[in-house]
Symmetry: C2
Subunit: 418 residues, 2 copies
């Protein structure tokens, strides 16, 4: 089965928002082993939309539309598809109840416009919208499948995942499957990683190995096609082992794990408590850890001492130390890490201090960052970074590196990493 994903909305063509829906649906279809050959974006224009439908029917048997199901007159996706397929729209009682319930629950009056949203393609299956008013649609006609989804990702994503995807899975289940396994690396460049696994990249057929770099991380996606999940894993496992032999030192996680979720789960699993003192990153390290549910027991918190006086008065970094070494120094980072650990009574203390930009800080060039980590009664360790990006890229990169360094330190101490 070949799919084309068609996003409808002039806001996309004006560059107001990213078409994140195409990425989401593509990754979901890839899991099902459905090939996606094209993404198309078209504006709120019936003529151009119909041309796109004609073209897509020539080259795909699954057409997935996002957007244009709203209440306004700009929204014309279902009207255009109905006309093109020679069918009509009819009011769906479930959809109408859903819409009325939506307004009743929020105690808001319903407008005439909203009734339009209860109209669906005749003979379609309605896809429930748990987060909005526009129902989705699933229609099989003349050997093709048409799926209509709302544009806002928070409505579209759960609708696709829980309503549309199971229907597609049933349709493709006897055609084999695709299993993907993603290995996530930090602290190694894309070029060096590729060089280390060059022989595997050259030989790849099934499974395939796709490198991807971004935001300082590199991933290798191993993808196998097979008849069963076991067969797919029998193809993936030996390749995975060879990759780990070549570059396992830099592996921090797999699949959807992020650096933050990896560290958070290590801390939670081993009941290791942590506190942080942040300067240039201003709370981002702590906030990243706090994205992970369940972190409350081990993330004691910490301080943001953006200002130099606050490093002295609040965090207790000796004034003489700063005068001698400046705030962008190993000494300052070590002092911050030790002091926050002792102040908050945690097992681990982490610090970040440096020059975020745009200008240099204490005569240190933009991008110079010191990270301090102290574990229990150990001596603190410090790391110097020279980042090359813009202010906020550098802040994010500094936080990622600090997280990676804590993961490595815990891993070296024998706490389970993978």
């Amino acid at each position: 089965m070949n799919a084309e994903i068609i996003a409808v909305g002039s806001e996309l063509l004006l560059g107001q928002i990213n078409n994140t829906n195409a990425r989401f649906i593509s990754s979901q279809l890839t899991e099902l082993g459905i090939n996606v050959y094209y993404h198309t974006v078209v504006g709120d224009n019936a003529g151009r939309l119909e041309e796109i439908i004609v073209r897509a029917e020539e080259r795909a048997d699954l057409l997935i539309f996002t957007g244009g199901l709203g209440p306004t007159k700009d929204d014309l996706t279902k009207e255009t598809i109905a006309k093109h397929l020679g069918t009509t729209l009819k009011q769906n009682d479930d959809a109408m109840n859903m819409i009325e319930g939506f307004f009743a629950k929020r105690n808001r009056p319903m407008t005439e416009n909203n009734r339009k949203q209860a109209l669906v393609l005749k003979d379609c299956e309605v896809l429930e919208n748990a987060n909005g008013m526009a129902p989705g649609m699933f229609l099989e006609q003349e050997g093709r499948i048409y799926i209509l989804l709302p544009g806002p990702p928070k409505e579209m994503e759960p609708m696709f995942q829980f309503e549309a995807k199971p229907k597609l899975a049933r349709l493709v289940s006897d055609g084999g499957l695709i299993v993907s396994h993603v290995l996530r690396f930090y602290g190694i460049g894309e070029a060096e990683l590729e060089e280390r696994v060059q022989h595997l990249l050259e030989e790849q057929t099934n499974p395939t190995i796709a490198p991807l770099a971004g935001d300082g991380e590199v991933t290798l996606r191993i993808t196998a096609k097979a008849n069963t999940e076991d067969e797919a894993w029998a193809l993936i496992t030996p390749v995975r082992e060879q990759i780990l032999t070549a570059a396992g030192d830099y592996l921090y996680g797999v699949n959807d794990e992020s650096l933050a979720s990896k560290l958070a789960n290590m801390l939670i699993d081993h009941n290791l408590t942590i506190a942080a003192a942040e300067s240039l990153t201003a709370g981002l390290f702590q906030s990243e850890l706090a994205t992970v549910p369940g972190i409350g027991e081990v993330l004691y918190g910490g301080m943001v001492t953006y200002n130099e006086d606050m490093k002295v008065n609040q965090l207790g970094v000796p004034k003489e130390l700063i005068e001698r070494y400046t705030v962008v120094s190993a000494e300052c980072a070590a002092s911050m890490a030790i002091n926050i650990k002792e102040k908050f009574g945690s097992q681990i203390g982490v610090s970040l201090t440096g020059a975020a930009g745009p200008g240099p800080h204490a005569n240190h060039p933009v991008g110079t960052v010191w990270i301090g980590i102290v574990f229990g009664d150990d001596e603190p360790v410090t790391y110097e970074l020279h980042l090359q990006g813009m202010r906020n890229t550098n802040r994010i990169r500094a936080v990622k590196t600090a997280i990676y360094r804590v993961i490595q330190l815990l891993s070296d101490k024998g706490y389970r990493k993978i």
Copy 2:
């Protein structure tokens, strides 16, 4: 001039990354008054790419390609375009010097593959790549323009902006222009905002008014077509005035301003110092303000007291207060805001405490958040939120609301908002 933006790369169709390049280029073309009617994404497949080119030539006179200019055999954009246009690739000395310089500067050996990147379309103008090795190309042929750009956004964006856009601007300068002005609102729903400006939305022709909602914010983009910038503003201004009369109370900024940049700049302009005590948001409020350059003088920092003991021991919230009201309460928020202000010696103190989820906190349902703000010697003010989203959506929404509330408070005190 009508444009089609064609992204080449199987990683997009596999759902590994978002096509942010299309959004970026679209917004840039919109500024130039160039219409974008389609975005297309196609994989690393010469046959399918050529079909897309044929189709795009039927409906656009400006074809902009991103991706597929790298050194590997997967990268086939320029090869396919050369074949399609009946032209050839030749080595460009400037490009070769650029590539050799890139490796020399980084002290890394150059591979044979990289030489391929110095090949460009015969007769094209080379677009310099300041951040990578793949040169871009600009070619006029048979009344159409072909622009080839690299895929990585950090290479593509500056290349488009500084190399390709000036060329396009010269070509379209005598064909009129488009001016857009974006009004940014917070604290009002999309539906209510649209209702307040309903008459304007119905009458719109030139300028047009496009609402857009996302992440709790709503924007109205007013777009005028005219021969000169002055003429465009003469169309925009009266519409802007009518919108502000209808909903100006909720306006926080214009164009690219964010809530964080708005507040940061108000604080910097008026030399107002701020500190924050954060629980569920764990540093995100401070980190958001710190995205803005120049904030260092006024953002004193603050504390993350994720843990209840830390609220008592570090921040000095009375234990009895928490026992009586819990940490999810106006009383706790007020105490946190006052204490952080006094501890850090800032003029403004802000606090966030609540139940981020996934589970309820201190018997308060997920999404219950209290914000506390204290200004100088004023009584603290507190706000209760009942957020409906997932854990991290709620954390972001809580931070945005806190920022918005501080903006409003400063605005009410007579500090300039817009």
